[in-house]
Symmetry: C2
């Protein structure tokens, strides 16, 4: 897989973008700092998670003897979680190692540096949350346990693409260019490529957590079920069965490398607006597929305009997702525009889209299949054509 | 309605309880401070919410003229939300006024004090979140829009009670004593009382947000649909239709005062463990009903032991709820014990409960019926008998 890296990725979601006040050198330096921040978060996963889990041990030991006897296996579970944190770290370590193409300091794990270990981890709770979310994204995109979520959200998109190009013979689909902004760990783009082997697929992603992890799974994993991960051990709330919670999830369920040699597939790092508003992307794509992406916008009007601009005449925009605006209550001070679903569709029509199909699709997102709490999104699903 | 207030409520959930190091005078002073904190949060609702909404106005004004024209009604909606915040404040003002039985300074609204207005509101985001949650609790408990949630969680409890006492004639049920810890805004206890008019019902509640609001709805509201509230205006994420979001919810759907003259119904303020582990509550209750309550425990073993102790021999514990342990990731430093559902049931058996019925019941909790994101809890529902 080609992995273009365009130096457009200077900041995290919580930082502001302002290209008129920073020069090119500052921008590159900011990007390096940001990269190191993400790699540091990955590197501190084990230490942070062990600390977090140790609180349970302390709380158990503060119980009366009588209460301890009522839950004799409690400490055993805490210890088992420790072991599974170590196993998760095996995957994370491999991700960080494969990210060394992005930066030089990828191997600096805190355990190997006793001086650093005495200080507080230089990682915010939010960054650590993103590391844990990355583990759950692996379930959604690359484990059989994620099949249910993928069937509900990815399959309708692929069916829609098949419907649009049903009259185009398979061997002519090499000219069809499909763009997937917010590609995450890449499974949707991969499944589209698999369904129409000759298409030119391009994923775009802003988050380095996702970029490192997708680079790893798409390029470095050598066999199916190569890694065991334990994505649901970080909270003990809403757990039905300890045994199921502690069960491993095997990744990947399919081997992406097998396919990627035969298709034209690339992943572009960077902010969607910055990359795709450029002149070389004008009317460059036949289809833009947005899946759980539109609400990552600070200004969803801008997203829609860039999607419109980047599509060829009569090109298709397929969307599925909720409207959980990521910047609505952001502490970053970024401006945020929040439209209702009705408003979004109204603006899309004004910008120059004609809606062909619309429906609502309920689905979870990176949910623990065995948990007692599920976030159910009622997603808007539509196909619209650039007119 | 009798409203016992036992001075057991010294601290908020985020504070620690330690009765061996504070004397009685300190305890009363702490309680007064806590009361004032909650009343202050209610009093600042309007100012805080208007500020929060004003951010949207600022962000809109920072858009290009071209973008402003694409969403010409945006500011109009922001203004309409302002008006609805004012209307919500009418209810909140009435709640605070009726809370003056608890404290002296209930009427001190920030607007009336220009000096205070210049300072930052002395209210944490978490406290303000509790005020907004209180508005949503009114929908769950006292609006027709909450009927769906009540049918799924309250009705099975009432059916179970009817089943248990089916051989007891209605006029003999005056001796049946039912306790509802975590009674919230009181609808479950009210519905139980309504179904078996002669039972002795007692709710227990720790949170002053809930206590003030339940005191108000149970004692002060004079007519059905007396208040219009707008509980879903505080976030613009996952909204399908602006119009529906801005629609009022009328409360109450039934008038509690009508019933309360005829039944033996009381609400006890205070921490469940502190109140019900006392000797006068030993073997004092025929039924304990816990609904979305067990996971409010720091130590769920203690909750189960007190439920067991407070029940008469052969008394019944009916439970419905998830296991979202409130103190799992608390910043308060409180110890927290988190058991899986299997473990909870295992411990209950060890303590001396025999399970008669068990099932799982999926339900939302204070959810926006028209929203695109729903938190769906798979609740454990059981009936267990003290042996």
């Amino acid at each position: 897989m080609e992995h273009q890296h365009q130096h457009q990725h200077q900041y995290d979601h919580t930082h502001s973008h302002n290209h008129t006040t920073v020069n090119e050198e500052d921008a590159i330096q900011s990007e390096q700092l940001h990269l190191i921040k993400v790699i540091t978060a990955f590197a501190y996963y084990k230490r942070h998670s062990l600390n977090h889990n140790h609180r349970r041990r302390r709380d158990y030991l503060s119980l009366s003897e009588h209460h301890k006897k009522l839950i004799p296996d409690y400490l055993d579970k805490v210890n088992q979680v420790d072991g599974r944190i170590e196993e998760n770290m095996n995957l994370i370590r491999a991700i960080v190692k494969s990210a060394s193409m992005f930066t030089e300091d990828a191997d600096d794990e805190p355990e190997q540096n006793p001086k650093k270990q005495q200080q507080n981890p230089p990682v915010s709770p939010m960054d650590m949350d993103k590391v844990r979310s990355t583990l759950k994204q692996f379930v959604r995109d690359w484990a059989k346990e994620g099949e249910c979520e993928r069937k509900v959200t990815y399959d309708p998109i692929i069916q829609e693409l098949n419907e649009i190009y049903k009259d185009l013979p398979m061997h002519d689909r090499g000219a069809v260019r499909v763009l997937v902004p917010g590609a995450g760990l890449g499974r949707l783009a991969f499944d589209i490529a698999k369904a129409a082997t000759k298409s030119q697929l391009s994923g775009n992603e802003f988050s380095y957590y996702m970029l490192f992890a997708s680079h790893f799974v798409l390029n470095r994993i050598k066999t199916e079920n190569e890694y065991k991960i334990y994505p649901f051990i970080h909270s003990n709330s809403n757990i039905k069965s300890d045994e199921k919670q502690l069960d491993p999830v095997m990744i990947p369920d399919v081997l992406p490398a097998n396919l990627l040699d035969t298709v034209d597939f690339s992943m572009v790092a960077g902010d969607f607006i910055e990359v795709y508003s450029q002149e070389n992307n004008r009317e460059a794509w036949d289809v833009v597929v947005t899946c759980f992406f539109m609400d990552t916008a600070k200004n969803i009007l801008e997203y829609m305009e860039v999607i419109h601009k980047t599509l060829k005449q009569n090109g298709t925009w397929i969307n599925i997702g909720p409207l959980l605006y990521h910047f609505e209550d952001s502490s970053s001070g970024d401006a945020s525009i929040e439209l209702s679903l009705e408003q979004v569709q109204d603006v899309a029509k004004k910008i120059g889209f004609e809606f062909k199909k619309e429906s609502m699709v309920p689905t979870t997102y990176t949910s623990n299949p065995d948990g007692m709490l599920k976030y159910v999104y009622e997603c808007a699903f539509w196909t619209a054509v650039k007119i």
